[in-house]
């Protein structure tokens, strides 16, 4: 249904512009489910835009159902045949009522009113949004908006849907909604082309195309692609965690199959079965330590509400504990209600009690609307509690309004998509904005600005660049530097990795870790990525519908898999795997969440 013959593409510009696509030669059959992977700038979105003739190749030919996309008269047939869903759900919904948005496509095609009505009802039912037909799009969740966008494409009766990172801006629950919908559509015979940064999504496809610098470098089944762990790393991509684990075990001499992609496959693997089911000496000494689990893993997970002040018992490694005892942030009985007394009244936070110690790194987790954004905005005085108290370094922040500026210097808050707040003509000036507003001396401003730019890994060559010229990851780092330059003692980051490719995600996380260890800043990481939380922090706070659900070590929190799934969260794939392996051999503790720890553990048992 899709066939290309050596297509090249360069964006128009003055002089010789670089080719974004080079010699792309692919063909996709009707009914296929193809995932396209590639780091940012690899050309995958550009290729996607060719498939429904939003862009035309500068060289070579692209046929959709045998129709050349360059021929003007084919344009509307092609756009009807290949529908497209974009990344940002807000920027593709045109109408103010769901059903009228779904009708937009068929209306443009000149379908008769009765038929449009029928298609709208049908497609809304297909994506499970029929009960929202008369809702306003801005009141829907991200996942719901994306499903509306899919319905809008389906209503045009396409043969093929191209989805350009449709889940990048969604939380785990929204991601699941969209992927389930897409998988079902494919089963009903629609060709699906899914562009994604998430390897676990690519596994759902039947074929994976990897792009690198404008070329197709791999084109195989997911199994075929992911078994090439080293090659994937070369293309700055990752592989699903279980695949990486299998690869690591192979390197260590365990004969695990190379092409493992799911938890089940791993558990069923003959080498694993053999290694883990052979009777092994009870428990290997020091094993729990290897696994990165504190000796307190017998500590039962307690519902956080029961304890008045939540201590950080299980969370902090014993070493260096003394200087961490100092409480920097204390939240007492915090309740926040939006628009009290009106029809919109909504309790976003309900009697929250928390305390965070100096130098801690804490993850705050919850689904969209769980109250985590509301909570962090209280910490630097952007929102005021409806009732309750917030103490920063022992001082009630509501007590003295004149200290607000000092408070905001002390508690740095990096919002979601912070790059959207860049505004100065140069990176340097933008980062210096905060310190300047703080009223520091010019020397201090300069040293603070330079120091924070260095911390986030932006060297002098970036100082005079416009923030708008930077890549996505660089922009985000510049924005984080802008908050860091104010010299905060507590740094709160709201979804710092959202929307980045694996490479960008790794870089940001590494830098956050660096800030925490080198500068000794207390970090609160707000995220819905359990993987990020597990990798960086030793304490996880889970919010659900404005209530504090858990406050404990990652291992304890992840052992509550069922509850987490129910409230729209996810647990790391490795944790799921560890739990399953624990059934095979009790020597594998279920509270492991990093590849290295589990690998060591399996190897330990296998010996």
């Amino acid at each position: 249904m899709i066939k290309t013959d050596k297509i090249y593409f360069a964006y128009p510009g003055t002089g010789q512009t670089p080719d974004v696509l080079k010699e792309i030669d692919i063909s996709i059959k009707s009914g296929e489910f193809v995932a396209i992977l590639g780091h940012n700038g690899s050309g995958k979105s550009t290729l996607a835009r060719h498939l429904n003739a939003l862009l035309m190749p500068t060289q070579g030919t692209l046929w959709i159902n045998g129709k050349d996309t360059k021929e003007r008269e084919n344009l509307w047939t092609i756009r009807q045949t290949v529908g497209m869903v974009f990344q940002n759900p807000d920027n593709q919904i045109i109408a103010t009522v769901v059903e009228e948005d779904v009708a937009f496509g068929p209306e443009n095609l000149g379908v008769s009113p009765a038929e449009i009505r029928q298609r709208v009802d049908e497609t809304l039912a297909t994506v499970g949004m029929e009960s929202f037909a008369l809702s306003a799009p801005h009141n829907l969740s991200g996942g719901q908006k994306q499903r509306v966008a899919i319905a809008g494409v389906l209503a045009m009766r396409p043969d093929c849907i191209v989805l350009d990172e449709p889940t990048a801006m969604l939380d785990p629950a929204g991601r699941r909604e969209v992927l389930e919908t897409v998988t079902r559509l494919n089963q009903e015979g629609i060709t699906v082309i899914l562009i994604t940064h998430f390897m676990e999504e690519a596994v759902l496809a039947k074929r994976v195309i990897v792009m690198h610098d404008g070329e197709v470098v791999l084109d195989d089944t997911p199994r075929g692609v992911f078994s090439q762990v080293e090659t994937m790393r070369e293309y700055v991509l990752s592989v699903p965690p279980v695949t990486a684990l299998a690869h690591k075990l192979r390197e260590s001499g365990l004969d695990v199959a190379e092409d493992i992609m799911t938890v089940e496959e791993f558990v069923q693997d003959t080498a694993i079965q053999k290694a883990l089911t052979t009777p092994s000496p009870s428990v290997i000494p020091g094993l729990t330590q290897v696994a990165g689990v504190s000796s307190k893993n017998d500590l039962l997970l307690r519902p956080a509400q029961d304890s008045i002040t939540i201590s950080t018992v299980g969370g902090i490694p014993s070493q260096g504990r003394d200087d961490r005892e100092k409480v920097v942030t204390q939240i007492k009985n915090l309740t926040h209600t939006y628009s009290p007394g009106s029809v919109f009244e909504m309790t976003a936070l309900n009697d929250i009690n928390l305390s965070i110690n100096q130098g801690e790194m804490v993850a705050l987790i919850g689904h969209t609307g769980s109250g985590k954004s509301t909570l962090i905005q209280h910490l630097n005085g952007l929102l005021k509690p409806t009732s309750g108290q917030i103490l920063i370094e022992g001082e009630d922040i509501a007590a003295d309004k004149t200290k607000l500026k000092a408070l905001r210097q002390k508690v740095g808050l990096v919002f979601q998509y912070p790059e959207h707040q860049l505004f100065e003509p140069t990176v340097y000036k933008d980062v210096a904005f905060g310190p300047t507003r703080m009223g520091l001396t010019p020397e201090e401003i300069e040293s603070q600005t330079k120091k924070s730019l260095t911390t986030v890994g932006l060297g002098e060559e970036f100082y005079e660049k416009s923030p708008f010229e930077l890549s996505g990851g660089e922009k985000r780092r510049a924005a984080i530097a802008g908050v860091l330059a104010m010299g905060p003692k507590i740094l709160i980051l709201d979804e710092p990795t959202a929307g980045l490719d694996p490479q960008g995600r790794r870089e940001i996380l590494a830098q956050i870790k660096k800030m925490h260890t080198e500068l000794g800043i207390t970090v609160i990481l707000v995220s819905h990525s359990m993987d990020d939380a597990a990798r960086l922090t030793d304490r996880i706070i889970v919010l659900n519908q404005g209530n504090l659900l858990y406050d404990d070590t990652p291992s304890q929190v992840f052992s509550q898999a069922e509850t987490l799934l129910k409230i729209g969260l996810d647990i790391p794939q490795i944790s799921r795997l560890a739990a399953r392996l624990g059934e095979l051999n009790p020597a594998i503790p279920s509270n492991i969440f990093t590849i290295d720890a589990l690998a060591d553990c399996i190897l330990g048992v296998a010996k």
Partner: protein, 265 residues
């Protein structure tokens, strides 16, 4: 910020919601014009009763309607104060210095306030009960005859739809940017006029950048869904006058006559 009611649709299934948008548009224009012909408080009474009757029928919470007035509170106060002090007249109630409050002034100011309130609530009923798409469909349909003199009726309608669609989104975004810049130490509430205008820069630049980006993405998304102006375009909901529209016409006529009668009082 995100609770702007002017131009906001209140979804419900009432008689008023189902009336043809073209008729509602014309009726609103008639209503607005009619307010300027009132020369007697009885007339405002008729208009107020008419509006309350419509609100009741439309099943829109009164609170929701009044919220829309908040946005014009400043203009309202300004108009009242201006009229109160600036109207020349014979019956001086009291005076301090050059400021004189006359009976005529009080009369004028009250009339002005009542008229403005009736004006806003009346037009709010139109936007609260008509989805923006219906509204723009109505405008497009009413403007169609003007196409002969090259008025781009469809494009105007589409622009309005998109503007209405993005009001809540951009309001939310602005709120977020303001908070983010405050977190970086931006000071938005103090200082003189120039300082304040300058302090808007960190908010306006990102807001505009984002609006342009959104516009670009939206245009691509519209193109991908085969949008090409009104060439060969059909509608899911075709406007057709029904029995209730004629009944509505009778009701509006009765209102018009009643209002005119008050002029004779």
């Amino acid at each position: 910020m995100t609770r702007i009611t002017i131009g906001q649709y209140y979804p419900s299934d009432s008689v008023i919601h189902r009336i043809d948008p073209r008729f509602k548009l014309l009726a609103t224009m008639f209503y607005i014009t009619s307010l300027f012909f009132v020369n007697h408080f009885g007339g405002y009474g008729v208009a107020a009763v008419f509006i309350l009757f419509l609100v009741k029928l439309a099943k829109v919470p009164v609170l929701f309607l009044l919220r829309g007035l908040r946005a014009i509170l400043f203009i309202l106060c300004f108009a009242v104060v201006l009229n109160l002090f600036m109207t020349p007249g014979e019956n001086v109630l009291f005076a301090f210095g050059f400021l004189r409050v006359t009976m005529e002034g009080v009369n004028m100011a009250t009339q002005m306030a009542v008229r403005l309130i009736l004006l806003i609530t009346g037009s709010s009923i139109l936007t609260l009960t008509t989805s923006p798409i219906q509204l723009t469909d109505g405008i497009e349909s009413l403007l169609k005859p003007l196409k002969i003199i090259k008025v781009p009726a469809h494009d105007i309608a589409m622009m309005m739809t998109i503007a209405l669609r993005f009001i809540p989104t951009l309001a939310e975004e602005m709120d977020k940017i303001m908070k983010a810049q405050k977190a970086r130490g931006a000071d938005l509430d103090t200082g003189g006029l120039i300082k304040r205008a300058k302090s808007l820069l960190p908010i306006l630049v990102p807001l505009f950048v984002s609006a342009f980006k959104r516009a670009d993405e939206l245009a691509t998304a519209m193109e991908a869904r085969c949008y090409r102006g009104d060439v060969g375009r059909t509608r899911m909901k075709v406007l057709r006058l029904a029995g209730r529209d004629w009944i509505a016409a009778v009701v509006v006529t009765i209102y018009g006559v009643a209002l005119f009668m008050t002029r004779l009082l």
